[in-house]
């Protein structure tokens, strides 16, 4: 495995990289696909800078295309992050983001954050990175009195908290904090760990308490300490660059720094990958099941090779436990491919951990599309792990949006490379995540039930669905914000709101809100739909209507309409109005309002359509589910 700073899970930059950048510079039109293709390589700082300039020059066009999610990042730092800012626009393309940055002037961090009229505040960034080093926080020198040591940590935390509050109050942006990298130098040697107030102790204490303080908040935390340790502290810190230019890390480490920051922002926008698709032969076990048989494959304790494959399986299972869906895509006879899952004692992964199991001789790109379809997710949510370079190359060509880690031929490296790549970056971990893999499991069973029943009405009736509709509440807020930020396909307006926005909407009497849950005989689907209407005197207007594609075709949208129609009617309104705002991903709901009986009343300025439903002539339909509607003031069972 090559150097971690070279981003070894990515292919190295091609020899013609410079020529390709130059061609884009001269091109009449540049598409997101063009720049994303170049960003997919492991680029160095200069290459990131060159590609970043193309992004800057074509930002408007790339933004208008709608494939990349725009993010404006404010950077408020006590050291030099200019090179990180230069590397970010190109790096972020790998994670589906179109990032622009706005920096505070050197030494103006507190003013920029605390003054609502500062240039940082008036730029209205989506997020602000508060990058304070140990020196600026008073933690770079030892404190040998225990009380002074605790006081130093407390005062550093208080300072960070005041800046954090400033960002929220004056700028209204999401906050990105980071832990502090441990210095490479010690004072006592090993004894540093035992001296309260040594710099290592102060930093460890600060990091631990910072993570505790923001638990449950929507603040993002970049774990710089872990990043620096992964690189190696003596390589991470470059004293010459620090003294010369206040560079927080070695220049070689900046591409990795920018990648970690980008994946965190992407995760906050709901763009992390959702599903790990595994090859079988020489990926989950050593050897070829069809040739070597269940007794001949290498798996399990006792050999380096067998343990390496076991480690891959253990990682996959751990990912599943935190909510990542697992699928199998193998060129094999299905019967042979299933044998190890059923008969090999050392298999960690069992058949029922795999949500979609595809073993056939069709090409893998076609199979990956089928897997995404069966799970109702985009191919851009897939990570494909395969030891075979030809298969990897084929998938990269056919489906560039699928993440294909460059894993080489040493299975011992697979776990580390998959982890370094950071495809599954999270910004929360909740009960929905814990249950997700099971929910998708149940979904696959539902698909087969559909095949057996054949008749849609009978099928829906056979599901024993219970639909719960309730206004927004504190308990549901994190999941509501998550759905608002990651739903792309069934989303009429694609308006994104932060948790703070959702809280404000919840408290606003002029809004009518709905969070919808669905349980059926296969399991609890959790919260699957979020709807916001603006209450008007005559008309209630739809601000947001989105739904998880998992429950497409279950007539949940009709239940939602019946609920809001009744509420509007009893409030004295005459009609419901709504609009469809097209994006590259939501053509699915182009006819949503039409299907629900709305009449088109016009076209929308800037694209899309406008609709209205006359409440006097609306009658709610009979639906194949039990509906449990709650009104404001009632709590919803978790």
């Amino acid at each position: 495995m090559s150097d971690v700073l070279a981003l070894p899970w990515l292919l190295p930059a091609p020899a013609d990289f410079r020529a390709r950048v130059r061609a884009l510079k001269a091109a009449d039109a540049v598409t997101a696909a063009d720049v994303v293709a170049l960003a997919a390589y492991g680029l160095d700082l200069s290459q990131l800078g060159s590609l970043g300039k193309i992004v800057d020059a074509r930002r408007d066009d790339l933004g208008a295309e709608g494939r990349l999610r725009p993010v404006l990042l404010g950077i408020a730092a006590t050291h030099t992050l200019d090179l990180v800012a230069e590397a970010l626009p190109a790096t972020a393309l790998r994670h589906g983001l179109l990032v622009d940055t706005v920096q505070t002037d050197y030494g103006q961090l507190a003013q920029a954050v605390l003054d609502p009229a500062s240039s940082l505040a008036t730029a209205k960034p989506d997020f602000v990175l508060l990058a304070l080093d140990a020196g600026a926080l008073g933690l770079a020198r030892p404190q040998f009195e225990a009380e002074a040591a605790e006081a130093a940590v407390q005062s550093a935390l208080d300072y960070v908290a005041s800046l954090r509050d400033g960002v929220r109050a004056n700028i209204g942006a999401g906050v990105v904090l980071h832990t502090l990298a441990t210095p490479a130098e010690s004072l006592f040697g090993s004894y540093d760990a035992r001296v309260p107030g040594s710099v290592r102790w102060l930093i460890a204490r600060f990091n631990q308490r910072l993570a505790q303080e923001i638990a449950g908040d929507a603040d993002l935390l970049l774990d710089m300490a872990a990043l620096a340790e992964t690189v190696g502290l003596a390589r991470w810190h470059d004293p010459l660059r620090w003294h010369d230019a206040k560079m927080p890390c070695a220049l070689d480490a900046i591409p990795l720094y920018a990648d970690h920051l980008s994946r965190l922002l992407a995760a906050a926008r709901g763009l992390s990958r959702k599903c790990l698709v595994l090859d079988l032969d020489n990926t989950l076990w050593g050897g070829i099941i069809g040739d070597d048989g269940v007794d001949g494959i290498k798996l399990g304790q006792g050999s380096a090779r067998g343990e390496a494959h076991l480690a891959v399986q253990s990682l996959a299972l751990d990912l599943r436990r935190r909510g990542i869906i697992l699928a199998v895509c193998s060129k094999n006879e299905e019967a042979a491919a299933l044998i190890p899952f059923r008969e090999h004692d050392e298999m960690v992964l069992k058949e029922d951990h795999i949500s979609v199991f595809v073993a056939n001789w069709t090409d893998k790109a076609t199979n990956l599309k089928a897997i995404a379809q069966a799970l109702n997710i985009g191919t851009d949510a897939l990570v494909f792990l395969d030891d075979n370079p030809a298969e990897r190359e084929r998938v990269r060509q056919e489906l560039p949006e699928v993440a294909v880690p460059e894993v080489g031929d040493e299975p011992s490296d697979y776990v580390r490379l998959l982890s370094l790549a950071g495809y599954f970056e999270a910004v929360a971990f909740n009960d929905e995540d814990r249950k997700r893999a099971d929910m998708y499991q149940a979904n696959a069973q539902r698909a087969s039930a559909l095949q057996k029943v054949g008749n849609l009405d009978e099928y829906l009736a056979s599901l024993d669905m219970e639909c719960t509709i309730a206004p927004f509440d504190d308990l549901g807020r994190a999941r509501i914000a998550q759905l608002i930020n990651k739903s792309n396909q069934f989303n009429l307006t694609t308006r994104r709101y932060t948790e703070a926005d959702v809280a404000a909407i919840q408290a606003d009497p002029a809004k009518f809100t709905m969070q919808v849950r669905l349980v059926d005989r296969f399991g609890d689907n959790g919260m699957i739909s979020v709807v916001i209407f603006d209450r008007g005197e005559q008309a209630w207007h739809c601000d947001t209507w989105l739904m998880s594609c998992r429950v497409l075709g279950r007539r949940v949208e009709e239940a939602v309409l019946a609920h809001v129609a009744q509420a509007a009617k009893s409030a004295g309104a005459a009609r419901l109005t709504g609009e469809y705002i097209p994006t590259p991903k939501n053509v699915l709901v182009e006819k949503h309002f039409e299907k629900l009986g709305f009449a088109q009343i016009g076209d929308r300025e800037g694209g899309g359509t406008q609709w209205a439903l006359d409440l006097a002539s609306y009658a709610s339909p009979d639906l194949p589910m039990q509906i449990d509607a709650k009104t404001a003031g009632q709590t919803v069972p978790a």
């Binding site: 410079r18 130059r22 700082l45 200069s46 290459q47 800078g49 060159s50 300039k53 030099t80 200019d82 090179l83 230069e86 010459l240 660059r241 003294h243 010369d244 230019a245 560079m247 220049l251 070689d252």
Partner: protein, 98 residues
């Protein structure tokens, strides 16, 4: 820089030095094109930050680190500060590689 006297002295050695020098300038030109994101660059010994718009204090740090990486040695802060133009950088590289 070689003094005229030194140049007149050992012709054979000078040729070898010139060879190496041209290789170094070639490599340095490639590095500068990448680091300063230039379409092309006509190398001259007296090129300095004043001649290249993209050459500011930040890209200068990237330049120094790229040179270190390409030639496999580390430049000290005083060495970096002593340089006035690219030709002096080539001299320094030659010294370090000698």
């Amino acid at each position: 820089m070689h003094t005229p006297a030194a140049k007149a002295g050992a012709t054979r050695k000078m040729k070898k030095d010139q060879m190496e020098r041209s290789e170094i300038t070639e490599q340095l030109t490639e590095i500068m094109i990448d680091v300063f994101d230039l379409d092309e660059l006509d190398y001259r010994d007296d090129l300095s930050a004043a001649d290249i718009e993209e050459w500011d204090s930040l890209s200068n740090i990237r330049f120094m680190v790229s040179v270190e990486k390409a030639f496999g040695f580390r430049l000290s802060n005083s060495e970096i500060e002593s340089l006035d133009n690219v030709g002096e950088m080539v001299d320094l590289i030659q010294q370090k590689l000698a």
